[in-house]
Amino acid sequence: MTLHAITVLGHDRPGIIAETTDRLAGLGLNLEDSTMTLLRGHFAMTLVCEGTAGGSEIEAALAPLTADGSLTVTVREVPAEHAPPAAGTSWVLSVHGGDRPGIVSAVVAVVAGVGGNITDLTTRLAGDLYLLVAEVDLPSGADVEAVSRELTSVAAGLGVGVTLRAADTDEL
């Protein structure tokens, strides 16, 4: 059994997911984690699937998707990742303000600087409004107050606002 990471990018239309997954199912591949969204109207999907089919076999099966040039597909074998459960704390970081280059890089640099890990991230540009929402794991022992102050300072320099909130889970 091997794992393959597959990306499908390009012009959106109804049926892309149905077609892609049907072809993967035809190879006996098991879809594990996947994500799909529209990025400024472009279809963008990444999925990781497990099975015995090889990379070239998967590429051949998905080739019809790319035939009209509207979609790009990549297939790559990836090793199994055994991420240990995070020992630190989970946070939701929200940044919004006027659009300008460098907002994301400046803000995430603060997170990286304390060994924090971003586990999920979305950015949106809506008119002049730029928005970043990220889920952040901070290592145990990180000085959250100091991180928050640094984020506020960096954001102020960019003319945007920032909020860092604990990602609370209601256990049921």
């Binding site: 303000g97 979305t122 949106r124 409004l129 929402v133 889920e135 606002g161 909130r165």
Partner: protein
Amino acid sequence: MAINPTVLAWAESDLGVPGAVRDVVRAPAAVLSADGGVVDPSAPEIVQLAADLVATMRVSPGCVGLAAPQVGEGVKVFCVDVSAHPKTRDHHGTFVLCNAEVVSGSRNEKAREGCMSVPDLTGDVKRPSRVVVRGQLPGTGEQVELEVEAFEARALQHEIDHCDGLLFLDRAAGAHAVYARKTYL
């Protein structure tokens, strides 16, 4: 939950001045991200602002609340009227509060919020569905405390957030909790 009779009985005619429809500002306007100033609820300009907020809410389709920063005034005043909304349970009709704060809250629920000042996005926000809010009525300045629930509770917290310089974007439940708006009212 007990409805506060003073708030329920309040009507914009109590203000004694006609309201003007104001332009609604949109993010990233700085006034939306600044902590609003505390006001004197009996000051004539605050009474006028209260009337303007109600008038602007009335002409805005689907609008159930409007805060002063949304019309460009960085102060703690907002209006609410959820009476016609299908998610509303008990409610206090139309009212304006100055210098309001959430005293206590319980029963967190997540729901998707939109905002006239963020017209192209919506987002999932978790908030208490029962809250006690304290504030002052414009004109008289009378301090009132009201228990609110369900949609009215959400609306009040959304507006109080505006008065404190927060948008629903600041409370997005996660990286996949913000959406491009699909329908415009």
